[in-house]
């Protein structure tokens, strides 16, 4: 192996082992003082933003068996499972409210089946774990890990039933075929927003004794050396840093970095501040950097998803902004500012977003009619959205077009032609594949909602294995460090299918929690 020290180590390379030995030796040499001086491992050493050496805490201010960072789906699921195994558990949440992006998400959950047998009851065809898996892999351009996707698709129905049985989760009596999915498998909670799931998980976690602490921001991950376990966390306290020992393990469930413009531009320079973002303010990815600084590997960081249906001005993903996502399976149509179709509506989010940007406008619209409302959501929700100025309603397509500032005749022509495509099951314009539940729009009232892409989900993140262990830059699990949810990368690939994030976070959160609790204290 020639002159390897100038190259970045890559675990996939066949000669990885010898490199690893070499680099480990150099690291160990660099840390020779650590053996006597008690310094913590810090790969950020010498940088402007990091102290040259961080001293390991000489005493711990507090200790728990399992310390979890983040209180979204993944953190709550991990807390519930770890506490269920008798571990003492604390969730650290930096924001003043719990739930992160999870509690404000669209309330959608993909599972190929469920204990309520919704698909069978609604007569929406067949599905299987394998079909869900294949759709997910294809939807991510086969960049996603088949091994991880298999865990997701197999675990999704069980986790859903678990939340129904133990957390009191209630589902709407609808099932959607959403972008990139070949089957009707997208479940919606009655709340129509992620809170339905987070509340169910919180209930289970708290019932089992997990504690949650808000406004508690982690400032470092403690690990002593390259082979050693993660020991605990440093958090910002009002009177200075507080050190919390994790007797069994640390679980990172801190979400993505969509709201950190600088960080997302490092990996995808095109996603500048000109893009809105659907995320909550705290989605800033610092835990990913801390994990890197103690050896964690990352992947897929440039894969950052745009949500094609956010409110055009602010980028908010409110309840109305979920309708364009739920609707394609029931025949809704997307049109540009001139009233013309511009994409196959059952396409993936990345494809729809790119097509929207390519229209050259500032917004596009979803068009649907009265008959579709109960299939996608509720009349009350649509009426509330109308009062807020989100949905626009008209008795005729001409009038709706006028209200949207376009030629009503063009809109009418677009919908009439699309009706014909549904009947013939052939879309000569965008080659849409039709399913039986798709409806034609023959009568009003008609509705429209404006939509535009906004940064939504970071598919990349910490490299983890199917046991939710965080893997280091040598390809080896970091002892006592687990991660789940959006903070991880590698499952979704180049594009995440809508409704897959909630089961991803819940399923792997449960695995992380169980494995963390099984560690020896």
């Amino acid at each position: 192996m020639e002159n390897s020290k100038h190259e970045a180590p890559t675990p996939e390379r066949p000669d990885g082992d010898s490199r690893r030995t070499f680099l480990k030796t150099s690291l160990a040499f660099g840390l020779a003082t650590a053996a006597t001086g008690g310094f913590a491992l810090d790969l950020g050493a010498g940088s402007a933003t990091s102290p040259a050496k961080r001293k390991l805490p000489t005493k711990w201010d507090e200790s728990y068996d399992v310390v979890i960072v983040g209180s979204g789906f993944a953190g709550l699921a991990a807390a519930a499972e770890a506490a269920g195994k008798g571990a003492s558990v604390v969730i650290l949440e930096k924001m003043p409210v719990y739930g992160g992006n999870s509690i404000i998400n669209g309330g959608e959950y993909n599972a190929w089946t469920d204990e309520l047998h919704l698909r069978e009851k609604l007569g929406l065809g067949e599905d299987s774990a394998d079909t869900h898996k294949n759709d997910t892999l294809k939807g991510g351009d086969f960049f996603g890990s088949p091994e991880l996707v298999e865990v997701l698709t197999a675990g999704a129905p069980k986790a859903l039933d678990w939340m129904i049985d133990e957390g009191g989760l209630k589902l709407r009596n609808v099932l959607n075929r959403t972008g990139g999915h070949s089957k009707y498998r997208t479940h919606t909670c009655v709340e129509g927003v992620g809170r339905g799931f987070t509340e169910a998980l919180r209930k289970i976690a708290e019932k089992r004794g997990a504690k949650m602490r808000l406004k508690t921001e982690v400032s470092w991950i403690w690990r002593k050396d390259v082979d050693g376990p993660v020991l605990g966390l440093e958090v910002k306290g009002p009177k200075g840093p507080v050190n919390i020992r994790a007797r069994k393990a640390v679980v990172l469930a801190s979400g993505g970095f969509g709201r950190d413009v600088a960080m997302r531009m490092i990996y995808n320079p095109s996603l500048n501040a000109g893009y809105n973002c659907t995320n909550h303010k705290g989605a800033t990815g610092e835990m990913i950097r801390f994990a890197q600084a103690v050896g964690a590997d990352l992947l897929h960081m440039a894969f950052i998803q745009l949500y094609p249906y956010a409110e055009p001005e602010t980028g908010i993903l409110d309840a109305p902004a979920v309708y364009p996502f739920r609707g394609p399976g029931f025949g809704i149509v997307y049109v540009d500012e001139k009233g013309k179709r511009f994409v196959n509506e059952v396409e993936r989010r990345d494809v729809v977003s790119r097509a929207e940007l390519a229209t050259g406008g500032k917004k596009t619209f979803t068009i649907f009619n009265e008959a579709m409302i109960p299939k996608m959501g509720t009349k009350e929700e649509v009426e509330m959205g109308m009062a807020r100025g989100r949905f626009v309603k008209a008795d005729t397509l001409e009038e709706l077009g006028r209200k949207l500032g376009m030629d009503g005749a063009v809109l009418k022509d677009t919908i009439t032609r699309h009706n014909g495509y549904i009947k013939e099951k052939k879309d000569p314009e965008f080659n849409k594949t039709f399913s039986a539940p798709m409806l034609t729009m023959e009568s009003g009232p008609y509705y429209a909602i404006a939509q535009w892409p906004a940064v939504h989900h970071t598919m990349g993140g910490l490299r983890t294995d199917k046991e939710a262990r965080v893997v280091d830059i040598w390809g080896k699990p970091i002892p006592r460090l687990y991660a789940a949810g959006e903070v991880t990368g590698g499952l979704h690939g180049a594009n995440r299918l809508g409704g897959n994030a909630t089961p991803d976070a819940t399923v792997f959160g449960r695995i992380a929690g169980l494995n963390a609790a099984a560690e020896k204290a």
């Binding site: 003043p96 409210v97 809170r195 009002p238 909550h280 303010k281 001005e313 602010t314 807020r388």
Partner: protein, 218 residues
């Protein structure tokens, strides 16, 4: 170490830290208190305690405590040691049976800064003081340190119950936002309302168009 510190404390307290009582500034306190007030014999805060005991039942409830407020608001520039005793660990009213709570020198420094701020009257805590709510009304029987939180229950003791609060801020039209009824479900009061700094409408982090205002905010 402890014994040493105690010894120094004992030696220095009488020598340097024996501030005057009330009479030094209020030569005719009885006249100032008015005829309705029972006669006070002697000088110093100790003499107030039989009636105004900080350890009495209910003194640390979320309720008005005009006595404490009057003394603190009226004595902004006065040395704490006139009425309080502290040894770097506990902190008490002179002559009281029970200490108010634990307090380090840093805590007391923070408390002084908070008092100065309360006196200037810009934030929520000042409004509470003006309305007769003392520190204990929010912080209970402890000396609040930097970053100290206030539990929702203490706010709701006066401003609740939550349903009533939701009702009070219900917008005229149903589609408009009600700041106390969020899609988050239950939220801590302290997500938006801060005692010693400007309050913020957290909703606006994501909903910049909401026309919501908050008292003692921007």
């Amino acid at each position: 170490m402890k014994a040493w510190a105690l010894l120094i404390g004992l030696l220095t307290l009488p020598a340097f830290a024996a501030p005057p009582g009330c009479a030094a500034c209020h030569p005719d306190l009885a006249a100032q208190l008015g005829p309705a007030h029972p006669k006070v014999k002697g000088d110093g805060i100790q003499k107030c305690l039989p009636c105004h005991d900080p350890a009495r039942k209910g003194a640390s409830e979320a309720a008005k405590n005009p006595f404490a407020v009057k003394l603190h608001r009226g004595h902004g520039g006065v040395d704490c040691a006139v009425c309080h005793a502290g040894n770097g660990k506990t902190f008490s009213v002179k002559g009281a049976k029970k200490p108010l709570g634990k307090a380090t020198a840093d805590d007391l420094k923070a408390a002084r800064a908070a008092f100065a701020d309360v006196a200037e009257g810009r934030h929520l805590a000042s409004a509470h003081a003006k309305a007769g709510v003392s520190c204990a009304g929010c912080h209970a029987n402890r000396v609040p340190g930097k970053g100290d939180g206030v539990e929702d229950g203490r706010c709701l003791a006066c401003h609740g119950p939550m349903d009533a609060l939701v009702e009070r801020t219900r917008p005229k039209e149903a589609h408009l936002p009600n700041p106390h009824k969020s899609h988050y479900g239950e939220m801590a009061c302290t997500a938006c309302h801060f005692g010693h700094q400007k309050s913020v409408v957290m909703c606006k982090d994501c909903h910049p168009k909401f026309k919501l205002t908050i008292t003692h905010g921007e």
